[in-house]
Symmetry: C2
Subunit: 356 residues, 2 copies
């Protein structure tokens, strides 16, 4: 196994694309070797800029992603794209068009595209996305675009894994601007009003700017919420540093609200420029470092939880023991709380005893 | 605190609705007292029948829920309703109409309605829904309807917490019947083709029946997927019992595909009858017991994981320690894997040492 991973790494370091695809698959599916790969890539992370692209269905996210990719390629950068699709079980195959649209960039050998589908129920998608982005970062891509195709809370969680997040809206969504949940306004670093040649574009832009103005007093923050873990308690030093930097009143970031007609390529330059300015802002204020430190801590949290759960629920003895308690549980003689406590009181040994 | 919970319980046991609402809020928001409440209610669970109602947006789920509620009330049953709304952050307020529609039953004192919104990212919604349903069960409701309003994987997870699940489809979804993901077919115990006075209803019905026929050979199963935990390994005895019962070839369940025009009240009798027949089937074959045992084990898993995470991430010392490692992590001297392992090697003491 380790020898195999070793050979994979040689090819990976030599920039071979088959090795990249293999490594991404191992990480995405949490197959054996994932810890070796991510552990080894860890010191190399932080070269790439990560851009999130999110928005309601039909807003043109894939088109914007394609435009951004072309612009980055023209500037000489390599681009890795992670498309995340946490779609409804009831509306499966509606996205073929998007994938076809992306074909124009997918043939470029310096562009790597990976689509990730919903996985399980445990909010593992954001974690997996971050890890796949790490592999792309470690491979040496200059730009990583994380596009969320579907709808739902996971969209926000995925977007939070980026350095800068584009929120793409369309005039059709104008009526419901008030219904955009708070989270959307929180994560947006740049707004793009796509299809802005349609009626209602100006009004939508005004509405978004009005909302941005209203929350200006609240200050700018992008705190990744993680599993109910209060990262602020871990991240205090970095956070304080960032807040210090931002106490320079003249250096705050108000998300620009850009107009675009992505199918005609209009607005690309402004989008790229705004992202560059946002990145410069993050670097200048310490926000970039803070975000990256937050990502690292999130990764520790995820790895620790994944291991705990693996050790607990894949242990044959534990399963047998739990199996033997089901009758008592069913009869109401014991409660799930009692059994869980018993289980955990034996868990310390389990964690320590087990090698990996 | 405990005295307060004690008084809450007295009022709860006396059937006071304010106490029910308080208990539900405590459980839904995982506030202190949740363990007392759920632990104490555990022996009372299993009286209520739990019916899940799911389907794509616009299929008429709320109308079906309202009809079911009225039918159950006419039969003399009390009804608790849990509406779960894991909607997109981009399409917030679209569901007011549904809530208004339900007003006809919401004034009935023997009907309790609670709406639950998306919570956090960790797939905690299905667990919370099950726990709120447990409170309703413990309070003495005869029927519990769990309606999922939104879209996404969580819909399926929530539906899995019921004894019987209605999947509501509409002719408009006919074209995309092939795109219904496998999970939808797996969880459906009864299909309802709503708005069946519209064109395409017969075709949709035929399509669904065709799909059901195709998978008949695969046998009928409703295995709750939980967090990647392979429940089959825990649940073996019950499962074997159920499979034995089902080896009686003549006693299998093929989900009926019913027609309804819910806004006109057409089809209610057939839906109620089918649910009764399905419940009788579950009782007869041991499937009901198996489902309820699975729910109990799932609860143990959830409680154990919640506690582990709480102890780990709310421990001041752990946080400080982790805080002190961020610089090394950032510089690449250590990897998140090393830190997670160090963390877990100390976790045994943490679990054992901490009282609660």
């Amino acid at each position: 196994m380790t020898g195999e991973i070793e050979r994979l790494f040689e090819a990976f370091d030599a920039g071979r694309s088959f090795a990249l695809a293999r490594a991404v698959s191992i990480v995405e599916n949490q197959r054996p070797g994932i810890d070796d790969i991510l552990g080894r890539l860890h010191p190399r992370l932080g070269r790439a800029r990560r851009v999130g692209v999110t928005g309601p269905p039909g807003a043109g996210k894939s088109t914007i992603t394609t435009l951004l990719t072309k612009a980055y390629r023209e500037a000489g950068y390599t681009v890795g794209i992670v498309c995340v699709d946490p779609t409804s079980p009831f509306t499966g195959g509606a996205l073929l068009g998007d994938r076809v649209r992306m074909e124009s960039v997918s043939l470029d050998p310096d562009v790597f595209i990976r689509s990730m589908a919903t996985r399980g129920s445990l909010g593992g998608l954001a974690a997996s996305t971050r890890e796949v982005a790490d592999v792309l970062d470690g491979f040496g891509f200059d730009r990583i675009i994380i596009e969320t195709v579907g709808v739902g809370q996971s969209e926000l969680d995925v977007a939070r894994t980026a350095d800068s997040t584009l929120v793409v809206l369309v005039p059709e969504s104008g009526d419901s601007i008030q219904t955009l949940k708070a989270g959307v306004m929180e994560i947006a670093d740049v707004f793009v009003i796509n299809k802005s040649d349609r009626p209602g574009a100006d009004r939508l832009r005004n509405d978004v700017e009005l909302m941005l103005g209203l929350r200006k007093g609240a200050g700018y923050s992008n705190v990744p919420a993680h599993h109910g873990v209060d990262l602020k308690r871990i991240m205090n030093p970095a956070r304080v540093a960032r807040e210090d930097a931002q106490s320079n009143e003249s250096d705050t970031w108000t998300p620009p609200v850009l107009r675009a007609v992505a199918v005609k390529g209009e607005g690309t330059t402004e989008i790229v420029d705004s992202l560059d300015r946002h990145f410069a802002y993050l670097e200048r204020t310490g926000g970039l470092r803070a975000r990256r430190r937050e990502r690292i801590v999130e990764r520790v949290v995820e790895v620790a939880e994944r291991r705990m759960r693996k050790r607990l629920w894949e242990d044959e003895k534990t399963m047998q023991w739990l199996n033997g308690r089901v009758d008592e549980l069913e009869s109401g003689r014991v409660t799930p709380y009692m059994v869980a406590d018993e289980l955990l009181s034996g868990f310390g040994d389990l964690v320590k005893g087990d090698g990996k």
